[in-house]
């Protein structure tokens, strides 16, 4: 079993470690090719100054990009959602997410990752809209309002310590979306078929049960 972790920016290293802890091989994904996906729509250097399509640099480059094996699942870690959105689109990873979601393979977005996969209106982030939930960024306030709290998760038999860091909130849940955990009446873990979203950071503690629940049964 191989699970990719989007490694543009944020807490990807800790997620990769969480996967390894439960015996799953982790691979860092910085471009579509890292997840076995050739991006047909956005050849990366096509519109960049100094390396027009067909230039020797581009040919040389395209020849060099190796397609790696496609992972069985993918994690989008927490980080800065505006940075992840900007860099993700710059490198064509938005197409990878769409293809992955359609393939039925498991996707798990936490915090910034959930913001990117969901819907909603943001000043600096254009969500991919792959999950029918509206997400509000920094809904609890700034860093001084970050906190840790135990939550009950459907499918786990005892409470789970959830770490909320500049966390978002789900403000609307679509009809096909299942709520699996709440905190103070707000949904914090949801699932739409193969895509799971959490507003908290399950990788921050030593408890690996949520990673196990999501990826252990694939």
């Amino acid at each position: 079993m191989l699970v990719g972790v989007l490694a543009l920016q944020g807490d990807y290293g800790t997620h990769a470690q969480a996967l390894r802890d439960i015996g799953i091989e982790a691979v860092e994904v910085r471009r579509p090719e890292d997840a076995g996906f050739m991006n047909p729509k956005a050849p990366r250097y096509a519109r960049k100054e100094g390396s027009t399509p067909g230039s020797s640099l581009m040919k040389q480059r395209d020849h060099k990009i190796a397609l790696k094996p496609a992972p069985d699942g993918l994690i989008l870690p927490g980080g800065e959602s505006s940075t992840i959105d900007l860099l993700g689109r710059r490198y064509g990873l938005d197409f990878l997410m769409g293809a992955f979601a359609a393939s039925g393979k498991t996707l798990f977005g936490t915090c910034a990752g959930a913001i990117w996969l969901g819907k909603g209106q943001h000043h600096k982030v254009t969500p991919l809209g792959l999950v029918d939930v509206d997400v509000e960024r920094n809904a609890y306030g700034r860093q001084v309002d970050s906190f840790i709290a135990p939550i009950e998760i459907n499918g786990l038999d005892s409470p789970f310590e959830a770490v909320f860091i500049r966390a978002p909130k789900f403000t609307r849940i679509g009809p096909d979306v299942e709520v699996l955990a709440e905190y103070n009446g707000d949904p914090v873990l949801v699932r739409q078929r193969n895509i799971w979203l959490a507003t908290f950071h399950p990788e921050r503690t030593a408890d690996r049960r949520l990673h196990q629940l999501i990826f252990g049964q694939m």
């Binding site: 490694a7 543009l8 920016q9 944020g10 807490d11 990807y12 290293g13 800790t14 910085r30 250097y45 960049k48 100054e49 100094g50 390396s51 480059r61 060099k64 927490g78 980080g79 800065e80 505006s82 940075t83 900007l86 860099l87 710059r90 915090c111 910034a112 943001h122 000043h123 600096k124 960024r137 920094n138 306030g141 700034r142 860093q143 001084v144 970050s146 906190f147 840790i148 770490v163 860091i165 500049r166 950071h201 921050r204 503690t205 030593a206």
Partner: protein, 311 residues
């Protein structure tokens, strides 16, 4: 991240280190106004460091460098959605209380400003807001973490555009960690004594081979190549201080200047994201249209060096 602090602030500490970890791989840029903050955010910065003057100007103009004016901080906080950091003087715990009350996301207890206490650094445990501090070596890093810092950065030599000191400090921290990791456990207490570092943190480094908090690079990073080099040396991301907004400062038309600075900022982000990929760093380096003039650290008098502030 289960480091034990004697003061019993473990849970708060985890939340603080949590935000520090969210910034990994994302560039943190010094900005002095809302326009610059927006340029940084649009270029892909993960955070901005708000300050009144960039280190290169502090160095040139002299005088006492203090915490930023509150109005400037408020404007910057309003203008971007990414986390906003701000600097306080070493030991100035009231500047820190003010910034916490204001709601900044991270405080840099920084040698770039004029120290307010030449003996003591701030006791950072009681604060809810996380702190980042500078270090030149492992002992200094562990002392700051012992005081509650949730993120470390190399001091480098800020405002010089010269990466040599940041390299020296990063190599020193990494080298000392490797040395401690390979030690016999019996030798750790003497090492802690010699380094002037808390024993439990020396033990942590021995067992894990890394710091209990992220370690970023700062102080003299001016080009995409500098940034990628610091990443390859083991930095978990980089701060860029004067490097971006001192570049192209001779361009008179503001829109033109901002364009050049935005391109440089984006190029540094690109080099950090793909630091291990020479083709990407090459492309990033090509995107760079301007670079700040640098200072030779060797020709500087010892008292001109900012890195020697704090211990």
């Amino acid at each position: 991240m289960t480091t034990q602090n004697s003061n019993g602030h473990e849970k708060t500490f985890e939340v603080k280190v949590g935000l520090a970890d969210m910034l990994r791989g994302g560039v943190i840029m010094d900005v002095t106004n809302a326009d610059q903050a927006k340029i940084a955010e649009d270029a892909g910065a993960a955070s901005v460091m708000a300050l009144e003057r960039v280190p290169a100007d502090i160095r040139k103009e002299g005088g006492v460098a203090r915490m930023s004016r509150i109005q400037v901080l408020e404007e910057i906080m309003k203008s971007v959605e990414i986390p906003v950091m701000a600097k306080v003087r070493i030991g100035h715990f009231v500047e820190a209380q003010i910034l916490e009350a204001l709601g900044v996301d991270f405080i840099d207890e920084s040698e770039v400003l004029t120290p307010a206490d030449e003996e003591n650094h701030i006791d950072k445990h009681p604060f809810k807001v996380p702190f980042v501090c500078g270090c030149r070596n492992l002992g200094e890093a562990l002392r700051r973490i012992g005081e509650g810092a949730a993120m470390m950065r190399t001091k480098g030599e800020a405002g010089t555009g010269n990466v040599v000191e940041a390299v020296r400090h990063m190599r020193s921290v990494q080298g000392e960690m490797r040395r401690i990791q390979s030690m016999d456990r019996t030798e750790l207490m003497k090492t802690a004594k010699d380094m002037g570092a808390p024993y439990d943190l020396v033990l942590y480094v021995h067992e894990h081979g890394k710091l209990p908090v992220p370690n970023f690079a700062a102080g003299g990073v001016a080009t995409p190549a500098d940034a990628a080099m610091m990443m390859q040396l083991g930095a978990e991301t980089v701060f860029v201080g004067s490097g971006i907004f001192k570049a192209g400062s001779d361009i008179k038309v503001m829109a033109e200047r901002h364009k050049v600075q935005g391109a440089l900022a984006a190029a540094i982000v690109r080099a950090v994201t793909h630091f291990n990929d020479p083709d990407e760093v090459l492309a990033a380096q090509r995107d760079q249209a301007a670079v700040m003039a640098g200072l030779d650290v060797r020709s500087m008098a010892e008292e001109e060096k900012l890195a020697s502030r704090g211990w």
